[in-house]
């Protein structure tokens, strides 16, 4: 799983914003607003981790059950695929 663009994370306090940078970034209109959980997943996608690796990593870190975490991570990744951010 690979992001199509490079992103710079801008810290806005309660939320973070991912801004595409570099050549081709102008093709992507707008920015991604990320809440705490979204940022967690997005950062791991940036590191090149697979969906399963992300789910495992978040399960180790938080007490939520695996179904909830799996559902959130897969839903988040689906949104990124839909807006054509993930290759």
């Amino acid at each position: 799983m690979k992001l199509k663009y490079e992103f710079e994370i801008v810290d806005m306090g309660e939320e973070k914003v991912a801004v595409p940078v570099g050549k081709g970034a102008e093709n992507l209109q707008g920015v991604l607003k990320l809440n705490k959980q979204g940022f967690e997943v997005f950062s791991q996608i940036q590191e090149g981790k697979t969906t399963n690796e992300i789910i495992s990593s978040i399960c180790e870190k938080y007490d939520d059950d695996i179904q909830t975490i799996t559902s959130y991570v897969e839903g988040f990744i689906s949104k990124l695929i839909k807006i054509e951010i993930i290759e």
Binding site: E8, V10, M12, V17, V21, G30
Partner: protein, 244 residues
């Protein structure tokens, strides 16, 4: 080849251009006997880059080369000024006394029309730049709005640097209404109107500088109808009450 020096946003730039047009456009910013901070030598390849952009936007296969080189100089200079904590924001910068306000919006919304109302109504108001003001970030937190010759179709500009007080994002509406917005709310608008360098490192610097705006500048969302009589009053009264 034409050689000249200009001073913009506090930096001295040595320019070597192919055509004479860039020097003519920059006439009010020309300096002599100053050591350059930046050297720009425009090549045909640089102009070709902008020709592609121009043809995409205007569908015109024969743009006037000198005019095109003026745009090329603006792009190359904007890229270099980022190294000096200076960025370009699309908008009309109006100075009232020792404070500046930027009215920012996509083209055709009525930025210039509105700014001209300020000039008509306030005796000491003037336009620092009518299209592409530079913002220079000083180490003490002050942000200066800097004049430049790239000033839109009306070509209204002043060779001055004035502390920035507010940025107003305009939108056309039936009625006039203005409200202060947070930096978080303003950020997507800022990103739409700021110059995006291709270079990733420079884009990161640009984002860092945009965040510094939050320290000293207030942000406003102005729903604007320039044809209604209260248009100037609505904006002016709100912006003048602002104490940030």
């Amino acid at each position: 080849m034409n050689s000249f020096e200009i001073e913009i946003a506090g930096q001295v730039i040595h320019v070597e251009s192919i055509h004479t047009r860039p020097k003519a456009i920059c006439r009010d910013f020309i300096v002599t006997d100053k050591k350059p901070d930046i050297e720009i030598s425009i090549t045909e390849r640089d102009i070709d880059y902008d020709r592609k952009e121009y043809e995409t936007i205007c569908d015109n296969n024969d743009p006037w080369e000198g005019f095109l080189e003026v745009s090329t100089l603006c792009r190359l200079l904007t890229d270099r000024l980022i190294e000096f904590d200076t960025i370009l924001l699309h908008g009309v910068a109006v100075a009232v006394g020792h404070e500046a306000f930027i009215f920012s919006a996509p083209s055709g919304i009525g930025k210039t029309t509105h700014a001209l109302k300020w000039l008509k109504t306030i005796p000491d108001a003037n336009i620092v730049n009518g299209d592409k003001p530079f913002l220079r970030f000083l180490s003490n937190g002050t942000v200066l709005v800097c004049g430049s010759p790239w000033a839109g179709k009306e070509s209204i500009y002043t060779n001055a640097m004035i502390p920035l007080k507010s940025i107003v994002f305009m939108e056309r509406a039936e009625d006039n209404h203005i409200e202060q917005i947070s930096f978080t709310e303003a950020f997507p608008f800022l990103l739409q109107q700021v110059y995006h360098p291709d270079d990733k490192k420079k884009m990161r610097t640009t984002l860092g500088l945009l965040q510094r705006l939050n320290q000293t500048v207030s942000f406003w969302h102005f729903k604007c109808n320039n044809y209604k009589d209260n248009c100037f009053d609505v904006a002016y009264n709100a912006l003048m009450r602002d104490k940030k």
